[in-house]
């Protein structure tokens, strides 16, 4: 399928009024008490997976065997946590019983830190690397047994985040483009030639439907948020030398059926973000994107209405973001143990502390179960 045809079909699907699969699934379930899930370390370097109850503001922690990256809420009690790349282990944790189920990567594969579910919640998709053949892969597992049942190519190196599109039939994959090999730990081996891409894959066949690239090949395409209307927000990571050259932007946006484009930001504003967004979330009501910006020690706010950066709110080592429990609000974590509410629907955007756990170091990403009223 050509990209133009794909865009047309994508737009049709979206205009058909479909909702993002996960949001549909959320809505199909009984009302739940909102919970946040995130990986964290403590000051001793031990690894945990934590659940924060937004109503009671209580925390449950489960020690796990690897440093985690992104979480995926399954229900009020359990969630998946994907190991930080290069990871050979991911876990499913039941916080009501303390049960930790580990699942391992296949030989010559490692996990890259993210995953998503199929529309019927029977299949789990994980981003992986076939490091001996320098290929990005999408692992497919039975969610119940967590056993691998298939895999697809990701059509690029270093697939990082992936999401299910609202049609329930298509995966969108952020191929970061960076070659690594476990022998060299996290060393980036191909910066000069890296080719990040945003790729759409047909679930039924594993075929590539469309591929998009940005003009600057040093902008690694890493984190995604897919809206119910099929819009795709992309958080970027600049791999050039920031002391010599700043990137032109750190957020890309693809309207449903449209082209992938960078949101505008002035040169004197981009420097403060220090080339790196760790997490991103989109609120369609406000047409706002909120990104955790740890190197810039802030939360950056972008408008899809004006296609541009709006402002940055100071927050040391901001690490994860999600939609909040109230309209016009977001939730933010940082690696100094804080959980915050970001209110943007008021006259002036502001951050208020929900709870501080000084002994915790929140890792990138927050996964929330519950509703955005």
């Amino acid at each position: 399928m050509q990209r133009r045809q794909f865009l047309g079909l994508a737009a049709l699907t979206v205009f058909g009024g479909a909702l993002a699969a996960n949001e549909l699934l959320d809505q199909a379930q009984p009302k739940l008490m909102p919970k946040l899930y995130s990986a964290n370390d403590n000051s001793l370097g031990e690894h945990f997976f934590s659940q924060f109850d937004l109503s009671s503001r209580t925390l449950r922690q489960q020690k796990i065997p690897m440093r985690g990256h992104a979480a995926l809420a399954l229900d009020e009690c359990s969630a998946l946590l994907f190991g930080r790349r290069p990871a050979y282990t991911c876990v499913r944790v039941d916080f009501s019983t303390g049960l930790v189920e580990s699942f391992k990567s296949k030989p010559n594969r490692h996990f890259n830190g993210h995953g998503c579910l199929s529309a019927d919640r029977k299949l789990l998709f994980t981003t992986e690397t076939d490091y001996e053949h320098k290929r990005g892969m999408i692992g497919v597992r039975d969610l119940q047994t967590l056993r691998p049942i298939a895999e697809y190519e990701s059509y690029g190196l270093d697939p990082h985040d992936l999401q299910l599109m609202p049609d329930g039939n298509t995966l969108v994959v952020a191929n970061g483009g960076i070659e690594t090999h476990p022998d060299f730990e996290r060393r980036k081996l191909n910066i000069d030639t890296m080719q990040p891409s945003l790729v759409y894959i047909e679930l039924a066949t594993g075929k590539k439907l469309a591929e998009y690239r940005l003009a600057d090949h040093l902008l690694s395409i890493r984190h995604l948020h897919v809206s119910a209307a099929g819009q795709v927000a992309v958080a970027l990571q600049y791999e050039g030398n920031l002391y010599k050259q700043q990137p032109s932007s750190l957020v890309a946006w693809q309207p449903a059926g449209g082209e992938l484009q960078l949101l505008k930001i002035a040169p004197n504003q981009i420097a403060q973000l220090r080339g790196y967004l760790a997490d991103i979330v989109y609120d369609p009501q406000q047409e706002l994107l909120v990104a955790a910006t740890p190197r810039g020690h802030c939360v950056s706010i972008w408008s899809t209405a004006t296609q541009s950066f709006i402002q940055a709110l100071p927050l040391a080592e901001a690490s994860g973001v999600s939609l909040g429990s109230k309209a016009g609000s977001f939730l933010v974590s940082n690696s100094q143990g804080g959980l915050y509410q970001l209110q943007t629907a008021t006259a002036q955007a502001n951050l208020t502390e929900l709870k501080l756990f000084p002994e915790l170091i929140w890792d990138n990403h927050l996964s929330k179960l519950g509703y955005h009223f």
Partner: protein, 378 residues
Amino acid sequence: MTPFQQQRLSLSFSGLLLAFCLVHPSLADNTATSSATATTSLAETLSSAKDEVFIQQLITTGIRPLYRDLEQASQQLTQASTDFCQNSSLEQFQKLRDAWGTSMLAWQRTDSLLFGPATAEQMDFQINFAPPKKQIIKGLLASDKPISTEVVAAAGVGAQGLSSLEYVLFDREQTTEQLLTSFKDASGQTRCSYIQAVSSLLEQNIKKLNAAWLSPDADQQFTNNQEVIDLLIGKAYQSLERINLKKLTQPLGNLDEKKASYPYDLEAWRSGYSFKIIKANIEGLQQVFVKGGFLAWIDKNFPSEATKTAVVSFEKQVQDLVQMKLPEVDPFTLVAQKQVSAELNELVQRTRGLEMGLKRQLAVLAKAQLGFNDNDGD
């Protein structure tokens, strides 16, 4: 339009003000005062400028001596390999092992300089890749032909460098005499040609690395003062993290639920250099931070009582570590048998304290980019 959207234009000015503050978040708040803004502007000027005099001093007295010593050590290692292969005596074998140790420690002294020439084209892995790829090395040693530097280069980093040499020069399953015999039997010639080739390739690579820092435009490794700060503090922090996590905590099993120890996780466990390596890491850090003038430069450019205290404290912590007595027992044996050692406990505590001092004091005061989640992005 939401109230927030209506405020966007009016926020633009405060956004600009915020942009200044965000460069140095410790100074930032929503009601930035004029004095804070002035301080921030000074700090911005400092970070974007390039202090050529300091950078020259850093290179000349902090960095070059480490690479000069490394190159000299690698030349002696090549010579020792040649001498041993001409006369495979116990004495020459011991000299070769000592020359390997000297080179290994010289390399470890550059551990906080893993940027620029050291990482270009993965040079650091060509010099020391651990653990070595035993199967590749065994494959090379099984050859009935002499092994050249070209063959070793083509075999990949897993068969090159210091850890590969350690693998063939030290073996805890054999006595020294038994190991020496393996260089004299039918396959001894191949084994000897391998150590000569690895040593020679190692020397070539180290020569390139040293040449890069000896170059008249070596100061181009740093774009501005901020890059100096971020690189030196960031790489020193990563070195200290490796010491605490990989070289101590992990092998000692300090976070292990079963309370088991893992002596094979010690770096250079075959040779028994595991703790000497840690001290060498700190000695290198001392060379760059103290003799290279970096601590004094921080003290001068971020003047405050807190900075002075942090600088003095850090220098003393480094000095104490460099002077401390290491455990006399072989590290592998000590860890394998989980022997109680006051010296080892002291090493653990001191290196941990140094890491925290760097992260919580120096990095904050010098406004270095140092984070949990973002050292290399994800």
